[in-house]
């Protein structure tokens, strides 16, 4: 029962990711794509969580956190790039 629920949800997440990739490809605007990427990252993170449960292992819990951290960082990087072109300034507000 639990196994089925987990299997279904993993497939659901996979579908989510697939659709997000579609959005990433078709856009149309750049922020759309970044949003899609963010969605993909966060859903991958969730999937890893579920997979951990399915495999019954704690080996991947670090991966969850790290994926959270880095999908955040890349989203910020992209937003800054879109907004300002520079993602690391030497001195703000010059």
């Amino acid at each position: 029962m639990i196994a089925t629920m987990l299997a279904i949800s993993v497939v659901l997440f996979a579908i989510t990711i697939g659709i997000a990739v579609l959005r990433l490809i078709i856009g149309p605007s750049m922020p759309d794509r970044v949003i899609a990427m963010d969605v993909i990252g966060v859903n991958l993170l969730a999937t890893i969580g579920v997979v951990s449960v399915m495999y019954g292992t704690k080996a991947y819990l670090e991966v969850i956190l790290i994926l959270g951290i880095l999908s955040f960082i890349s989203t910020i990087a992209f937003s800054k790039y879109i907004e300002r072109g520079v993602i690391v300034e030497r001195k703000r507000d010059r």
């Binding site: 996979a14 990711i17 990433l24 750049m30 993909i40 991947y60 890349s74 993602i87």
Partner: protein, 801 residues
């Protein structure tokens, strides 16, 4: 021990002379050089009796045990002749140079090269080990190069030096290969040991190639047709050099080599044909071309070619004595070899004298052009006398030594008719005779067009101060002039003491060499040879008188051809074609290079795979795939393919990032948590790097390669993918062994770490990790340097120090 020293002395001297020259900066330096060849000459003279008794001197200094190359010197009759020529002519040439070269020249360098040459040449003739011989052989080419290019400011000097070097080194390389083949057949590099095995060699497959390659070396060095073309250009060297290297000694090295190898190859008919006919053709072509020269030095160059051909053909005929032909009187042919050796010496005397004379004329009058010269006999009587002796000797007139050897040559050419070999009966005597006629003609040109006639020019010569040079300059040619005459009267002394031991060296299997030495007499009856000589003189005189009339022959097709043109064309074609060819594929375009590499990959792997398609695929080991994994992998494929089609690079970067994240997820699925961790961070940082560097770059434009290029690219991409897949599937289906990884599962007890991957990285294979962070460190520093160190000049100058 003494022979190696003999070789070493000039080398050592060649090092010290330029040093000395920095202190003794004057012409006197030549006097310091003179003792070296003189002492060596005297020393060699003292060895003559020993050799006359049939002895020979061997000495071995061990050099390369590994390659069986030892510095074995061998002084026998044959090398003695050359040794005497080298040191004797060396002495005279140095003596001559002292007066000939002006103080302004780089005398230190000149004598250095000259001594270098002398040592190398002695090395060539005294070496028993062919590889050591080769060492010195190439050194003679090098020193010749340096001497020809002595006045390197002149374009022609450089061109001449280059040509000589290229041709002789080419021959040398061929010869080296020939020696190596000999080694393969005989297991030795010693000439004497090869001679000992000569009987078994002709059966070997390498026999003929080895022979031809060694001949190539000999022919190029001795300026045999068609390799003779370097010799006229080598006349750009100072005249003493021409006299020494390019007529008396270096060009004789090839002759020496052929004589040396007669006992090894003499039994081969091919050898006989090659040596004889190449010699004859050279003889003819040289004399034929000498006639049309206007530059006295060029004339002498062609005459040298011709004479070298003569000697070569004599050795060829001489080798017939080795042919196992029934009913042949061997002494008929050994006499030819004898004649060859005899003429070898004679040629050095008269040609050396002539070169020196020409040098004097050039030195005194500033020109060597026959058309501008004339009537010098009155002004330069001594010079004229020596010239006369030299020329008449060369023409084969008595009472000069050339007459004797010419007679012997004509006899040898007639002796060939006794041979039961096709193609030799008619041609050899005819060519010999024709060439001799032409030789007579150009000798007359030297004498009569330089020293007689053109009376109208005389006042000009008086103005220019035409007179015999200072006595010192005449000393060397005078010595030679005396020898020219002396040898005519006492040829048999030379024959007994010098030539006879050499005959023993050429025909070691023929027993007592005394039997091989004919008695030389100026008069030996009304033989066919005598009539031929008469004919030569008559026809020669006629031809000389009517020279202006028949000179246009030289403009008719086959005679107007110059082998030089082929050389020039060859080099030009080589440079031009190589330029075009190389530029065709070395375009500098990266995508072209990638195309080559991938095509090579596809061709090689594709061929290999198509040959072994029978290798079974085996999917039974495959682990299960869940639905979500199928979906994700499919999505990854879509994302990857989409990279190719997106119109903005930012999207491509995003897709690559997504790809990276999903790869990380696959790492999770495939039980590799550490990989997943690292992959995620690295992917993000890489993406950030992309973004950081992008700001200034324009977005990518759609690349529209031409259709065939595009199809090719698609083909390459698809084929590469398929090859990777197929190979992987084959490997997965046919694992041969258990991986060694089971061992690492004891990581906890072995290293104390429970994370096997980290135990491998931090302990089992810590060295990889250490170097990997070194790589990272270099990368970091590299990036820093790349950005910080900028080319301040901006432009692309060669300020690269």
């Amino acid at each position: 021990m003494i022979i190696p020293l003999l070789i070493l002395v000039p080398f050592v001297a060649s090092l010290f002379v330029p040093l000395l020259y920095t202190y003794v900066h004057s012409k006197k330096i030549g006097w310091l050089v003179l003792p070296f060849p003189l002492i060596l000459f005297i020393f060699l003279c003292f060895q003559i009796p020993k050799l006359g008794a049939g002895d020979s001197l061997f000495y071995t200094i061990h050099w390369l045990h590994a390659a069986n190359i030892h510095f074995t010197t061998h002084l026998d009759g044959l090398s003695m002749i050359l040794g005497l020529l080298i040191t004797g002519m060396g002495t005279l040439v140095v003596m001559y140079s002292i007066y000939y070269l002006s103080e302004r020249e780089a005398l230190g360098r000149f004598y250095m090269y000259l001594l270098l040459f002398m040592g190398s040449m002695l090395g060539v003739v005294f070496s028993d080990n062919v590889l050591v011989l080769y060492v010195f052989w190439e050194l003679t080419s090098v020193s010749s190069f340096l001497l020809i290019a002595f006045w390197h400011q002149r374009k022609n000097s450089r061109a001449g030096a280059k040509k000589a070097m290229l041709i002789t080194v080419t021959g040398g390389v061929g010869m080296l290969v020939g020696f190596l083949m000999m080694h393969q057949m005989t297991g030795t590099y010693s000439i004497q040991e090869m001679i000992g095995m000569a009987g078994t060699l002709p059966a070997e497959t390498l026999f003929v190639p080895a022979m031809l390659l060694i001949l190539l070396g000999a022919f190029t060095k001795s300026a045999q047709f068609p390799f003779h073309i370097w010799l006229p250009d080598a006349m750009e060297a100072p005249t003493p050099v021409s006299a020494y290297l390019h007529s008396a000694t270096m060009v004789k090295a090839g002759i020496y080599l052929v004589a040396r190898f007669i006992p090894v190859f003499g039994e081969s008919e091919l050898w006989f044909y090659s040596v004889t006919f190449v010699g004859l053709i050279t003889l003819f072509w040289g004399s034929f071309n000498a006639v049309r020269q206007n530059d006295l030095k060029a004339l002498l160059a062609y005459s040298t070619i011709s004479q070298l051909g003569l000697i070569m053909s004599l050795l060829g005929i001489g080798s017939a004595a080795m042919l196992n032909l029934p009913g042949v009187d061997k002494t008929l042919y050994t006499a030819a070899a004898f004649a060859g050796l005899f003429h070898l010496i004679n040629h050095s005397t008269f040609k050396g004298a002539l070169f020196m004379i020409i040098g004097i004329v050039d030195h005194e009058l500033g020109t060597r052009d026959i058309r501008k010269l004339g009537g010098l006999a009155i002004f330069m009587p001594i010079t004229f006398s020596i010239a006369l002796a030299g020329s008449f000797s060369m023409a084969g007139l008595p009472p000069f030594n050339g007459f004797l050897s010419k007679e012997l040559f004509l006899e040898a050419s007639l002796a060939v008719q006794q041979l039961a070999l096709p193609g030799v009966h008619v041609w050899i005597p005819i060519v010999a005779w024709v060439a001799s006629v032409l030789t007579f003609v150009y000798c007359m040109i030297i004498v009569f067009q330089t020293f007689f006639g053109r009376q109208q020019q005389q006042p000009a010569w008086v103005d220019r101060g035409a007179h015999d040079p200072q006595p010192g300059m005449l000393l060397a040619p005078s010595v030679l002039g005396v020898m020219i005459v002396a040898l005519f009267f006492f040829p048999n002394v030379l024959a007994k003491w010098i030539v006879q031991p050499a005959m023993g060296a050429i025909y070691p299997s023929f027993g007592n060499p005394e039997t091989l030495v004919p008695h030389i007499a100026a008069w030996h009856g009304f033989t066919p040879a005598f009539w031929m000589t008469i004919g030569i003189i008559l026809f020669g005189a006629v031809l000389y008188i009517f020279l202006p009339q028949w000179r246009r022959v030289y403009t008719i097709a086959p005679f107007s051809w110059r082998i030089d043109t082929i050389y020039t064309l060859l080099l030009m074609q080589l440079e031009g074609n190589s330029y075009h060819l190389t530029n065709k594929y070395m375009t500098g375009h990266l995508h072209r290079y990638f195309t080559y590499i991938m095509l090579f990959f596809i061709a090689m792997m594709g061929t290999a795979l198509s040959l072994v398609w029978r290798l079974a695929f085996n999917f039974s080991e495959d682990s299960v795939v869940t639905l979500n994994e199928y979906i994700l992998v499919f999505v990854m494929m879509i994302a990857a393919l989409a990279i190719l089609f997106v119109k903005s690079r930012l999207i491509a970067i995003l897709l690559n990032g997504v790809l990276g994240f999903t790869v990380a997820f696959l790492f999770v699925v495939l039980r590799a948590p550490d990989l997943a961790l690292t992959q995620i961070v690295v992917e993000t940082v890489t993406t950030v790097l992309f973004l950081l560097t992008f700001r200034f770059m324009p977005d990518w434009k759609k690349e529209t390669p031409r259709r065939p290029v595009k199809m090719l690219n698609i083909f390459i991409a698809v084929a590469s993918g398929l090859i990777v897949i197929l190979t992987a599937l084959i490997v997965q289906g046919n694992r041969l062994f258990e991986p060694i990884s089971k061992y690492f599962e004891d990581a906890k007890t072995l290293t104390g770490g429970g994370n096997i991957v980290n135990a491998i990285l931090g302990d089992f294979r810590a060295f990889d990790t250490m170097l990997e962070i070194v790589v990272l460190f270099i990368g970091g520093l590299g990036v820093y340097v790349l950005i910080r160190l900028k080319d301040k000049k901006g432009g692309d100058q060669n300020e690269d120090q």
